[in-house]
Amino acid sequence: MSLTIELSVNGLIWPVTVEADELLVDVLRERLGLRGTKKGCGTGDCGACTVLLDGRAVNSCLILAVAAEGLAITTIEGLAEGDDIHPIQQAYIDQGAVQCGFCTPGMIMATKGLLDENPQPTRDEIRTALAGNICRCTGYWRIVAAVESLAGSEVRP
């Protein structure tokens, strides 16, 4: 079944015709050309596809595009315009939290979801919030350092 829906992505409304069973991650990537959101597993086990839905981090590989109609979707592309850079992105760069970079968009979106809800998380809260994002390169500690640097707390050396 084809449906024409309106998706609100990064503050813009995108009218798009989708099949009822199309996944949000595929519609974002293939229809809207927003390829920053990545597919790592398709089963909600790696977090590479994390976007914000009404401000909450979710796995876009487990959401039907039609079910996301009318909700505010934020992808990695929505974090910074033009030459600007979002503080989370800068922190990841500064702390060496990016190696191959494939998990990075999802990790950053999960970070944004956390900090928007809880601007000064403890280390335990940071790790709980990012437990659904698998990184195979960094061993995670540089990522923890990046988020702590934003949380106004003591940064792990």
Binding site: G42, I76, Y92, G96, V98, G101, Y140
Partner: protein
């Protein structure tokens, strides 16, 4: 030898050039490539581990609207290709020999249609007797996986028989006299599991065949030159008609080497004359990938009562599954380190690479030495315990020294193991903790040794019109920051600001040959090639400048993008000016070439077994793990992992930390969580739900210790560090568990249930 105080770029803080795109989600990975009217592919993989293909019926698949092409073995070139042994074909033809072997492929307008079509292909299999255990496969009467084994071309002398596609043996001294001199002889067997590399980016390739007959492939790969070569071989094309372009790589760890899915997508592109993209799903990565093989190792070690090692024999058996792939090479490398970083003058190692009908295995970071080290370092502690000697003392007593010759016949160079032991023991607080941690808690150590430098790299350097510098290399930055490291080396050697240097992405049409981004070799091999190229360019620059500035060339040097008079630094000419002169007035554009092959020939004796290439140097490391064991549940919690690694000189220090921390967590996974469960040739846990990768909540405190003892043969003294961090943790953790609760587990991973069973057995044994 330049002292570190005189370095301007190497070793200094710098920002990687690729991260700005990556944090914005703009880096183009394999699945992000897109072309107009691009078709999408799906592969039909064998569901049977060993079977005759009776019939393939693709009529219904071809009839589906939107399907452009369905191909099978009948449509592919018949020739075999492979990494060390040419045993592979693009598709199975008359027989499948492992579950997950490609049988057919579809190209369609969308991935959804391709998948529907794939599911409509009917394959009738007739099961054949299968073998799933390498020991059983080595016995007479076992089903033979490759009956034509003797007809395959190999890069090594033909020591192969039955299901054994490689038998290699290295000998040093006399085992008999070594055992004769021993007071005790201990034989122990260790097993390690099939582990998946679990790069978060699944493999993805896009191919296009133009009407001039040229194939271009955009692919997620660690090895552009090798992929190009293998595509040429598999498809029968000259390399001038094969172009491989590396997309940004979302992790490889050994899974993305030579070619895996590229020949399939290339064939589809040839048949359809359209761009075709194949993206592998996570389940397919487990079922039809190139996971790291399982190994069985038996170590028989002779030792004197005072702990001096006198003899060691290692039997090292790899189950390579249906095809030999890289597993064969892991056997060849691992046996050269059978002695570990210890002086054992009488030693012998026998390596076997064995076919079974298990899935096609490949290699992972560590390349067999990871497993060998788990065995060696576990046994060192076991021997220490049996003799009543401290585990540190027994290691120190037997450590290798500079110039010691190991089984490969190579003399060891740049031996720094004493220093890494010092650093790790100090940073971990070993002496204050060992024996003092309380019930259920323990601390354990493991040493690592690895080769540094493997085969060749080349690079060229181009001085641009504006005085900036472009570096061409064939080495893919797999995410470690290699692009930055190579830029730093070039900048340092040439005497330009780092910001004036750019390292190009890898494209086989343009980039010079490189072995691959593997084996911890990028900084050493590619770095040396870049340094040579930079030195070459600098020499040409200075020759021109001497002419232009009317000064003897010995009086000139470079700094910050200028050639200057060492006697009067105000007298100087910019690179831009010299470039202009070279391009438009005299001499021609300034370029530098660098070609580097660290050590010639072969390390191991040619004519027997596997000819292991020699390494230019060696790297060492020491890991200390602190654990607590919940004796009621068997759960092992690693509290702290201290990892001291000798890197010669850290070119990009933050990158070195990244390698140590990341590798340590992979080592943690290897030790405790990760295992591909395979039964009757089928993967039982092909998903991230039941193949358990460490999450951010599972990682212990990791303490990286960077030991810098420059090796003059490395670029500015630098050595690599890609693999050793993964190699250390498993034995350190197993040894710590023994220290904590007195159970010795010799097969990985140390799952809670396994530890619990061992604890029960120990209790029962004591009652």
């Amino acid at each position: 030898m330049t002292g570190s105080s005189q370095l301007n770029v190497v070793g200094k803080t710098a920002v990687r050039p690729d991260v700005a795109e990556k944090v914005r989600g703009r880096a183009v990975y394999g699945a992000d490539v897109s072309f107009p009217r691009m078709l999408h592919a799906k592969v039909l993989w064998s569901t049977r581990p060993h079977a005759r293909i009776v019939r393939i019926d693709a009529d219904r698949a071809r009839a589906l609207t939107g399907v452009h092409c369905v191909i099978t073995g009948a449509d592919a070139p018949a020739g075999r290709y492979g990494v060390y042994l040419r045993d592979q074909r693009i598709f199975a033809t008359d027989r499948v020999i492992h579950a997950g072997e490609p049988v057919a492929a579809v190209a369609a307008d969308s991935a959804a249609i391709a998948e529907r079509a794939r599911d409509l292909i009917e394959v009738e299999y007739e099961d054949l007797p299968a073998v799933f255990d390498p020991l059983a496969a080595m016995e007479a009467g076992a089903p033979i996986v490759h009956p034509e084994l003797f007809s395959y071309t190999a890069t090594y002398p033909a020591i192969k028989y039955g299901n054994v596609c490689l038998y290699t043996k290295l000998t040093q001294g006399s085992l008999d006299s070594g055992y004769g001199a021993a007071d005790r002889i201990f034989e122990d067997t260790f097993r390690t599991q099939a582990m998946h590399q679990c790069h978060v980016e699944p493999r993805a390739s896009t191919a296009g065949f133009d009407f001039g007959g040229k194939l271009t492939v955009w692919t997620s790969t660690q090895q552009v030159s090798g992929c190009q070569a293998e595509l040429g071989m598999a498809l029968g094309l000259p390399l001038t008609r094969v172009r491989v372009i590396a997309t940004a790589l979302g992790g490889g760890f050994g899974a993305k080497l030579k070619s895996t899915i590229e020949p399939i997508v290339a064939l589809l592109a040839l048949k359809t004359r359209r761009y075709v993209q194949l993206v592998i799903t996570r389940e397919e990565e487990f079922v039809a990938g190139r996971a790291h093989a399982p190994y069985i190792m038996t170590l028989k070690t002779g030792v004197k009562a005072d702990g001096t090692l006198t003899a060691k024999h290692v039997r090292f058996i790899a189950d390579c599954g249906g095809y030999s792939d890289h597993v064969l090479g892991t056997v060849g490398l691992a046996v050269t380190f059978a002695q570990g970083p210890y002086r054992i003058p009488n030693a012998e190692a026998e390596g076997f690479c064995v076919y079974t009908n298990n899935p096609n295995f490949g290699c992972m970071r560590g390349y067999g030495v990871t497993e060998m080290t788990f065995a060696t370092e576990s046994q060192m502690d076991m021997i220490a315990g049996r003799l009543g000697i401290d585990p540190i003392d027994i290691r120190r007593k037997n450590l290798v020294r500079e110039g010691d010759v190991i089984l490969s016949t190579q003399p060891l160079r740049s031996v720094t193991i004493d220093s890494t032991m010092d650093a790790a023991l100090e940073a971990s607080g070993w002496h204050g903790k060992r024996g003092k941690l309380g019930p259920g808690r323990g601390i354990g150590v493991a040493n690592t040794i690895l080769n540094m430098g493997l085969l060749a790299s080349s690079a060229s350097i181009r001085l641009n019109e504006d005085g900036t510098v472009s570096v061409l290399t064939g080495i893919v930055d797999v995410g470690t920051g290699a692009q930055l490291v190579l830029a730093q080396i070039a900048a340092e050697e040439l005497g330009v600001p780092l910001s004036d240097v750019a390292v190009a992405a890898v494209d086989s049409d343009i980039s010079p040959w490189d072995l691959a981004s593997i084996a911890s070799r990028t900084t050493w091999d590619a770095g040396n090639a870049v340094r040579l190229a930079a030195a070459d360019a600098k020499q040409r620059l200075l020759a021109l400048a001497a002419d232009v500035m009317k000064l003897p060339v010995e009086q000139l040097d470079t700094r910050q993008g200028y050639v200057y008079d060492v006697n009067d630094s105000e007298r100087r000419t910019s690179f831009a000016a010299l470039s202009g002169i070279s391009m438009f007035v005299k001499g021609g554009p300034i370029m530098g070439q660098g070609s580097y092959l660290g050590e010639p020939g072969f390390a191991t004796p040619v004519g027997e077994g596997y000819p292991q290439p020699p390494s230019a140097s060696f790297v060492f490391g020491t890991h200390v793990a602190e654990v607590s064991v919940d004796v009621e549940t068997g759960k092992v919690m690693v509290e702290r992992l201290t990892a001291a690694h000798d890197v010669g000189r850290a070119v990009y220090p933050l990158g070195v930390v990244g390698q140590i921390e990341g590798g340590a967590v992979q080592g943690l996974g290897f030790a405790l969580y990760e295992e591909m469960l395979i039964k009757d040739g089928q993967v039982l846990n092909p998903s991230f739900l039941d193949y358990k990768l460490p999450t951010i909540l599972d990682v212990p405190e990791v303490v990286p210790e960077i030991v810098e003892i420059p090796d003059a043969r490395g670029p500015f003294g630098a050595k690599g560090v890609g693999e050793p961090p993964l190699i250390g943790p498993a034995a350190a953790i197993a040894n710590a568990v023994y220290d904590a609760v007195g159970v010795r587990i010799t097969d990985l991973p140390l799952t809670p249930e396994k530890v619990w069973q061992a604890l029960n057995a120990k209790k029962d044994g004591n009652s």
